[in-house]
């Protein structure tokens, strides 16, 4: 489904991604973790072409992301993305946020788009918030709307870029619950997160990144079970002790 081959990226002289290769199979849930500045957010943004990369190749469902003739808007409309800061559009209501791309990109009509939006809002438990503006919701609610907005496009895969990092602790679970449910439904997911509980629960594989490199790429059980490389051990010992 998603395949990265030897991806390297530089910001000026600084190399943020160094020869990264990995695969996400259909229906697989892959968690990407690592210390801040390790390139995990950049890596996930390369997958849908929000960040350009200079070397290597990325294929999503057979389409090359980096190729010049790729229709990026078309490709992106099949890949859902959820951001750390929700990024709901503040000037339109919750319902409008979920219907906008359905109307403008998928050319669905108002009725179809509205029905889809309501169904998804029900799924994330926010049907009663449809006519509010994003700033009137809590962070956790906003992130659930953002997930519904991405799902409205019937994506073949979902990318999550630290979806719970900007949330108050008590709101993290309501977002993770939605994500766990999504994973159990068989959605293909690539999730940048520090939520190791989530990784333990639903991840098929865990990727550990450090300084732009993929240091570990293994099954969940291997990652948490057998001792890994020194850097991953230090990372795990730091975040798992609490």
């Amino acid at each position: 489904m998603i395949e990265l081959r030897n991806v390297s990226k530089w910001f000026g002289d600084f190399q943020v991604l160094n020869d990264c290769s990995t695969k996400v199979a259909k229906g697989e849930v892959v968690v990407v973790c690592g210390p801040s500045g390790s390139g995990k957010s950049t890596l996930i943004k390369c997958v849908n072409g929000l960040e350009p990369f200079q070397k290597g190749s990325i294929e999503v469902d057979g389409t090359s992301v980096g190729a010049k003739d790729t229709n990026l808007p078309e490709l992106r409309s099949h890949i859902g993305m959820v951001f750390q800061n929700f990024e709901l559009f503040p000037h339109i209501k919750v319902i409008g946020n979920i219907t906008l791309a359905q109307l403008k990109v998928l050319q669905r009509d108002e009725k179809q788009a509205g029905e889809k939006a309501h169904a998804l809002l029900e799924r994330v438990g926010l049907l009663d918030q449809a006519d509010k503006y994003p700033a009137q919701l809590s962070g956790g609610q906003q992130q659930r709307v953002a997930i519904a907005r991405a799902l409205a496009m019937d994506p073949i895969a979902m990318l999550f870029d630290e979806p719970t990092s900007a949330l108050d602790p008590e709101m993290i679970n309501e977002v993770l619950d939605v994500m766990v449910e999504l994973a159990n439904d068989g959605m293909t997911m690539m999730v940048v997160t520090h939520e190791m509980g989530f990784a333990r629960k639903v991840a098929d594989r865990v990727i550990f990144m450090d300084e732009g490199r993929i240091e570990e790429d293994c099954t969940k059980d291997d990652f948490f079970g057998t001792p890994r490389g020194a850097r991953a051990q230090v990372f795990l010992s730091k975040i798992l002790q609490h």
Partner: protein, 240 residues
Amino acid sequence: MNYNWDWGVLLQEPYFDWLVSGFSWTITVSLVAWVLAFSLGSIVGILRTTDSKFLRAIGTGYVEFFRNIPLLVQMFLWYFVFPELLPESAGMWVKRGMPMPEFTTAAICLGLYTASRVGEQVRAGILAVGIGQRNAGLAMGLTPAQVYRFVLVPVSYRIIIPPLTSEFLTIFKNSSLALTIGVLELTAQARQIEEYTFQGFEAFTAATLLYICVTSIVMLIMRVVEGKAAIPGMISLGAK
């Protein structure tokens, strides 16, 4: 000071008519210039935030050219120098042939100058909305043009209502420079009344009050616009 106050002079003919006429020219020059400044400034500001180096360079070039030359000099350049640079017949048309040459030149000059300032505010607004919103729009499959149309422009224009209001007020005040190329707007008429009647205090007081009157109305209108455009729940953008 030995001065004969005579407010009545302002109501006498033809001086009253002069004030009315000057006032309406001030309004006309300003509004025409504002329409030009707002449209062109929006384009320039948007160009400066696009991904294309070429388009950004065009926007930057425009802003740097027009905001770095004093407005008064620009008035003179457009009125006295520009027609000379054209082929003779075109130059003649600009000087005499086109309808109301002084007015047209002043309005265009003021509009082009103010567009560079509006452009900078539009750019600041779009940058303030942030890369995250842009990415969110792109990630769902919107084209860059659609991201501008449905996300960046509607949000950024709400943010820049306060500085845009200042710019709108400034254009009324700057329109007084049109007198230097012969537009008989409010300041010019006040001066003319002073020359005819020696009642300069009254004439310029009247002009001052009229300017304050217009700018106050603009401020009130913009406050209503700001209130209407405020996004529920967003205090930072609301007109509180």
